[in-house]
Amino acid sequence: MRYSMISALQDCLAMPISQRALLACLMIGFANGYISAFIVLRRSALRVGTISHGLLPGIALAVMLFGLSQWSVLVGAVAAGLFVGLGSLLLSQRSRVDQDTALGILYTAGFAGGLIIISRLGIRQKLDEWLFGGLMGMSDADLWIAFAISTLAVLVLTAYQRSILLMLFEPNIAASVGIPVKSLTYTLFSVVILTLVSSLQAVGCILSIGLLVAPAATIALFSKDASKLFLGGGILGAVGACSGFILSYYLDWPAGSAIVFLLGTVFLIGFIVPSNLFRSRN
């Protein structure tokens, strides 16, 4: 039976469960895209990838200690993210340890530990959601968490956008006009970690880094103005997440993977096409 894109969209919008998923895509996509400007300009994609993998053992530990619930997952993820993220920031400021090496070992070991705990707890099905996302299983509480975190993230990054831009461009100049560079960095990484946690439900901890990098990276291909990466990334993130979800509905793909795949494809197209145009003009 042929199934048109339009009727897929209608079906999708008619079901409460997918309405919620779409709403989640809109909020999470926008917040992630907005913050991706910070990640891209600071060139911290790999570090943030490490943090996102570090969420899994945190969740596993919290579930083991407090039982399986929304709140234990949330608390475990936040605690693990703060531990790995702020810990690595501290490490890089305080010592000469080769950060890539240390993080490479720490996060794979942590991730492996998380997998072991989860397999012992017998909640394999949940594991899939945490790894790759479960948009269709969003509860009201999940939606509220996503809303609260997305709002907070966008507000903080908007309110301090001037300081953030100057700090990203040249931390010494930022410090010279009185911007508290260190505490601002810690604040922003805390916001990044919260955002990672909120996108856990949508795309899972392995794919979340794609959602948190691709939007602004794509805008950066076309814009020579760093301040445009924030809103541009937010819009692209929201549109990409929603379209990815509808696409997944239509093609029966896993939703989180469809979103990240779509955003990655858009980036690649943006990367290839203009340079071809440029070459043909010469």
């Binding site: 300009l41 309110a159 956008q161 990203l168 010279s176 009185g178 760093a226």
Partner: protein, 262 residues
Amino acid sequence: MTKREDHLCWGADKPCPGFGKHRLEVSNLTITYGQTLAVDRLSFRAECGARVALLGPNGAGKSSLLKALAGVLRPKVGTVLWREAPIRAALHEIAYLPQRGEIDWSFPVTVRGLVEMGRFAQLGNWRRFRKHDRDVVARAIDAMEMSNLKERPIAELSGGQQQRAFIARALAQEAHVLLLDEPFAGLDKPAQETLGALLEQLAGEGRLLIASHHDLETASGLFDEALLLNQQVIASGSINEVLSEPHLTTAYGEPSSRCATR
């Protein structure tokens, strides 16, 4: 010490009567990185309208001193006063220009965007960017003769243009004191001369310019005063006094062994 004479100070429409020139006063400043001593009990003073060269061999503490004056480093020992108040109270009056090598030139920002960042020091995070701010930015870009380059990304500028773009940022900040880390390094001769003339003009308008400088040959043509240091102050005063042979020998060693240290 203070000359009670009127002078046309930067930013004022008429001479500031009777107060003498605005003064930067550094006393007993000591900067350390962990166990390493960068600057040792350094004291000096400078007044607005002067171009002061910081001279000394590599590792003498020139960059550290500039960072401390700019408020980037917070030394535990010593004081820095600007207009008789702690300098941290007037950070927006001080503009810091890092070495060109320390700047990420691939950062996506145009000349205009960079100069607009200069207004952030005045506006903070929340005050609106108004017509006045746009005017100040346009004037700063004009003063550095960059109007035709203002929409160009900083990555596509020449060395001299990059330096001027950063000075335009400082002008947009309406800074009274400019701290420049090796502004002439890596510039070709014509660009050096253009920049030299611009700095002379800025000082003539009543700003205080303090710049580290590694080339002793060109120093006397580009600066009025100098501070020669090697962790401690070796000499300070007018550029020609400071550049005398005994002082240079103290700082750099015997003339025959100097090539390597410059």
